[in-house]
């Protein structure tokens, strides 16, 4: 499934509530508009809470709010049209002022790929939903993200540091991490 059709099917999942009634009429109009020229609309009519973007990356990027993260992920896996059952890369990223997690998903049947990004601006106590009950591999990856970025994951079985020792203070991969002893800044 091409990125365009993917984007279309996913965007229908999380319609913006207050735009609900207005959306239906626009929805009809939007569907046939996409199917005609079959190219991604330059500025997608933001009919859902998700932001889609395609530039600067080979795959379709979805930026999602932390609240809808878990439901989106569950839908992405269970919906047989998308069927993203292979989470091959889960990486924590420090976007300067926000801390975020990037999920790379692939479907073993349709062989298409998707990138889901979630950002939290709160740097003292960042909290996200854990997806380790959807994909088992997330359990270790999320422990690694907690270890290096300090992002806590709700209902994660045993969230403790994976690589560093228990009493390590600070989160090394954050941009503002200072360690004079063993960090040689060239």
């Amino acid at each position: 499934m091409t990125n365009g059709s993917l984007q279309h099917s996913i965007s229908s999942w999380f319609p913006i509530p207050e735009v609900e009634e207005l959306a239906d009429s626009k929805e009809q109009h939007e569907i046939n508009e996409i199917s005609e020229e079959n190219i991604e609309p330059a500025i997608p009519i933001n009919s859902s809470l998700l932001e889609f973007s395609q530039e600067a990356s080979q795959f379709l990027n979805i930026t999602v709010q932390p609240e809808q993260l878990y439901d989106l992920m569950r839908l992405l896996k269970t919906n047989d049209q998308t069927h993203f059952d292979y989470l091959f890369c889960l990486s924590g990223v420090d976007f300067g002022e926000e801390l975020g997690v990037v999920y790379h998903l692939e479907s073993t049947i349709h062989r298409h790929m998707l990138v889901v990004k979630v950002k939290t601006s709160d740097r003292e106590n960042p909290m996200l939903d854990s997806v380790c009950d959807i994909w088992y591999t997330a359990e270790f990856h999320e422990r690694e993200v907690f270890d290096f970025f300090g992002i806590k994951f709700k209902n994660h079985p045993n969230l403790k540091r994976l690589f560093l020792t228990e009493d390590w203070d600070g989160f090394p991969l954050r941009k503002d991490y200072e360690d004079t002893i063993n960090m040689i800044v060239k």
Partner: protein, 373 residues
């Protein structure tokens, strides 16, 4: 503390044992906290970080050429393929067209690295299961490949032969002759591997039906490489996202469905044959041409995100670069195959004996620096 058999009156007690950072079966500094009841394993909890060098933090301050040399130290058994991964990521980001000759040489050297990694794996697998002389037969064949690499790249293990834009030096004049001699020699040796270990009844009893991994679990645990292909999940990056000269080569993907330790063993032996056939198809027609394309000294990737997948001997290595246009990446994440393959260890080893755990770990083929990065 539930006693193992309901009506037995003697009470067994579980105790914790440290298959510690220094243990013959962990091939590196991996510490497994085993909870055992007598000989039966109740829980396996890996404790990582003994060889963590924070490669990803170093990448944020190094230039792209310097990052390539760091990847040698991650999965040191497929160091060439790791180098190739970062070089491809940089070249695709810069839309840099690499000459045909470089692509063919990179594929040949990649397959040679895979064979040398599987040779070491086979030797050490035999040693873990108890047959000590397989180690020397495996290393004899690996030694021939190391000589090829030493002659062409100058180093045996951490080659750093690929650079963004091509190869550091052109191949050595008698590279083709040595590779052909090795291929001819190794074709007679794989049947010997089979006669010595594969059909041995003790080996089959030790590995058949041990540590069964179903296809859904393999996908859900993010397994890749021979571990996943042994459970029927076809995920060969060389097939689905071919890179370098892999699209011009025809080879079968080695798949099995049983998912037990013996299937993982057989998948790797089939992969040896496939890699040999790939090398044979390419070795005779290495196209002439430049061995390197001039890139400017300081490589600056355009703004954006780039992801490059490569099939190493252990599975699918992913290089995820977020670049802000400066000379070193804003964030660089290595998706290491060993990391996900290790996470399924607890799932398949529970209920088995210590001997089974050692056999399972041997077929998952762990390289600890690849996990700890």
């Amino acid at each position: 503390m539930d006693s193992t058999t309901k009506n037995s009156n003697f009470k067994t007690e579980e105790y914790q044992i440290n298959m510690g950072p220094q243990h013959p079966a962990t091939h590196g500094v991996l510490n497994l906290l085993l909870t055992i009841d007598g000989e039966i394993i109740k829980k396996v909890e890996p404790d990582l970080g003994y060889i963590h060098r924070s490669i990803e933090k170093m990448c944020e301050r190094d230039s792209y050429q310097q990052i390539v040399h760091l990847t040698d130290r991650m999965d040191y058994l497929s160091s060439n393929i790791n180098n190739e991964a970062v070089c491809l990521a940089v070249e695709n980001a810069l839309e840099l067209e690499v000459p045909e000759r470089v692509k063919v040489i990179r594929t040949i050297i990649g397959e040679l690295t895979r064979i040398s990694s599987h040779c070491l794996w086979w030797g050490v697998m035999g040693m873990d299961v108890g047959a000590l002389s397989t180690f020397f037969y495996g290393f004899r064949d690996r030694e021939m490949i190391n000589d090829i690499f030493e002659e062409t790249c100058g180093a045996r293990l951490t080659m750093n032969y690929n650079v963004p834009g091509g190869l550091m030096l052109d191949i050595h004049p008698n590279f083709v002759k040595r590779v052909k001699k090795f291929v001819a020699h190794f074709k007679t040796k794989i049947p010997e591997y089979d006669r010595l270990l594969t059909q041995n009844v003790i080996f089959q009893k030790r590995t058949k039906g041990v540590g069964i991994l179903t296809k859904e679990d393999a996908i859900s645990f993010g397994a890749s490489g021979p571990v996943a292909r042994a459970s029927g999940y076809s995920c060969d990056v060389r097939k689905y996202h071919p890179y370098s000269a892999l699209d011009k080569v025809s080879f079968k993907e080695s798949l099995k469905t049983e998912g037990d330790t013996f299937a993982r063993y057989q998948v790797r032996i089939m992969e040896l044959w496939e890699s040999l056939s790939i090398i044979e198809q390419l070795i005779d027609n290495i196209p002439e041409g430049e061995h390197r394309v001039k890139t400017n000294a300081v490589i600056k990737l355009p703004k954006g995100e780039f992801y490059q997948k490569v099939e190493t001997a252990r599975g699918e290595l992913g290089v995820y670069i977020i670049s802000k246009g400066t000379k070193n990446p804003y964030r660089l994440k290595f998706r290491s195959p060993g990391f996900s393959n290790l996470s399924l260890l607890n799932h398949i080893a529970v209920g088995g004996k210590i001997g089974d755990l050692v056999a399972i770990m041997a077929t998952i083929d762990l390289v600890i620096p690849d996990i700890d990065r």
